[in-house]
C-alpha cells in the first residue's frame, strides 16, 4: 500500500482487502475483550488501546516514508506532509480540506474516508455515527504517532457526522 511512496520494488503485493478486514476485526476485538461482566463495553479503555496501537504504527510508518525527504521547516509543513504524502501512502488520496487557526489547531477533513466507505446500518445516521466513533481511534492514533515521531507533540481527536465524511482535529500541545 505504501510501496509506491517508498519507491520499493512493488512486485510483492498484499491484497488490500486483507488490511481492511484486519482493521475492522481489530476494533471489534478490542470491544469484545473489554466487554465487562454486565455486558457493558468499556469503550474508554478500548479507545485508548486502539489509539496507542495507531500511535506505534504511525511512528513506524512515518520513519519509512520520510526516509529520503529533506527536513521540515515548521509545524505547518509537518501537518501539510501528513495531509499529502502520509494520507496518500495510507489511503491513496489526500486530505480534502485543511483549516488552521495559526495558533496550534488544525482541522483535517476527509470527504470520503476509505475505512468508512463500506459502513452502513439499518438505523438512523446518528446511530451509525455513534458506532463509527469507535473506528476513529486507530486513525487518530496514526496521526498522533506520525506527528510525534516528527517532533510535534499533539492531541488528536476525530469526529464523524455523516458517513463517509469525517474530520480530525489536531491540537499542538504547549511544551
Amino acid at each position: 500500500m505504501a510501496t509506491a511512496v517508498l519507491g520499493h520494488d512493488d512486485r510483492r503485493l498484499v491484497a488490500e482487502a486483507s488490511l481492511d478486514f484486519l482493521v475492522v476485526e481489530m476494533v471489534d476485538l478490542m470491544h469484545r475483550s473489554h466487554a465487562g461482566e454486565t455486558g457493558e463495553t468499556d469503550r474508554e479503555a478500548a479507545y485508548f488501546k486502539l489509539e496507542n496501537l495507531g500511535y506505534q504504527l504511525g511512528m513506524a510508518m512515518v520513519e519509512r516514508i520520510t526516509k529520503d525527504r529533506p527536513r521540515f521547516l515548521d509545524n505547518l509543513d509537518v501537518v501539510k506532509f501528513i495531509c499529502k504524502d502520509f494520507w496518500i501512502a495510507l489511503f491513496k488520496k489526500q486530505i480534502d480540506n485543511l483549516k488552521t487557526n495559526h495558533r496550534g489547531v488544525y482541522v483535517l477533513t476527509d470527504n470520503n474516508f476509505r475505512w468508512f466507505s463500506r459502513m452502513s446500518g439499518d438505523g438512523t445516521s446518528a446511530d451509525i455515527s455513534r458506532q463509527a466513533f469507535a473506528h476513529l481511534a486507530f486513525p487518530c492514533g496514526l496521526i498522533r504517532g506520525a506527528l510525534g515521531n516528527l517532533g510535534v507533540a499533539t492531541v488528536v481527536s476525530g469526529e464523524v457526522t455523516t458517513i463517509p465524511h469525517c474530520t480530525f482535529q489536531i491540537k499542538i500541545s504547549k511544551p
Binding site: A17, V27, R118, M119, S120, G121, H135
Partner: protein, 165 residues
C-alpha cells in the same frame, strides 16, 4: 424480461434477505394480526408469511440440488442452476461459503447466473462482508445484510439488468 424477486439464504438455511420488484398477490385472509414489526411477519411474494414461504422455497431448492447432484455424471459440474415452468423461471446460485441466491424471473429470461454472481461479488461482499459495523449489527439481532448501502446498490444494479422494467 421481468425480475420478480430475490431470496438470499445463509449457511444455516435462514432467509436473510427478500427483495421483491413486483407486487405480491393479494393475501387470502384479511385482518391478519400484523402488529409485530419483524420482517418475518411481512408477506412474501405469494401473500403467505415470509417465514413460511422462505422455508418452502428453500425446501424446493434443496431437494432439487440433491436430486441433480445424484443424477449428474461429472463430479466438477455446476449442479442445479435453474428450472423453468410455464409462469416463471427460478435461478439458483450457491457460493462456496454456503450462501444461496434464488431469483425468480419471467419464463423467457436468459441465464441469470452471471448476474447472481455479480450480485454476490460486487454487492454482497462489498457492502455486507466489508461493513465495519457487521459485528455490531449481528449482536443487536439484525442480520448484517439489512443495511442501506446493500439495499441501495442492489436496487440500482438490478435496474440495470437487461429488460428490467
Amino acid at each position: 424480461m421481468t425480475i420478480h424477486n430475490l431470496y438470499i439464504f445463509d449457511r444455516h438455511c435462514h432467509c436473510i434477505s427478500f427483495t421483491s420488484w413486483t407486487r405480491p398477490a393479494p393475501p387470502k385472509q384479511d385482518g391478519q394480526a400484523d402488529t409485530a414489526q419483524q420482517s418475518m411477519q411481512a408477506t412474501g411474494a405469494t401473500g403467505m408469511s415470509l417465514e413460511e414461504e422462505a422455508k418452502l422455497v428453500y425446501g424446493v431448492v434443496f431437494s432439487l440440488r440433491n436430486l441433480v447432484s445424484k443424477l449428474a455424471a461429472k463430479p466438477g459440474s455446476d449442479g442445479f442452476i435453474s428450472y423453468r415452468t410455464s409462469t416463471y423461471k427460478l435461478h439458483y446460485f450457491e457460493t462456496p461459503s454456503g450462501l444461496k441466491f434464488v431469483m425468480n424471473t419471467d419464463p423467457h429470461a436468459e441465464s441469470m447466473r452471471e448476474a447472481l454472481r455479480t450480485i454476490y461479488a460486487q454487492i454482497y461482499v462489498e457492502y455486507v462482508t466489508k461493513n465495519p459495523l457487521m459485528h455490531q449489527l449481528a449482536t443487536s439481532g439484525v442480520h448484517p445484510v439489512q443495511n442501506d448501502l446493500f439495499r441501495g446498490n442492489l436496487q440500482r444494479y438490478v435496474r440495470t439488468l437487461p429488460g428490467f422494467e
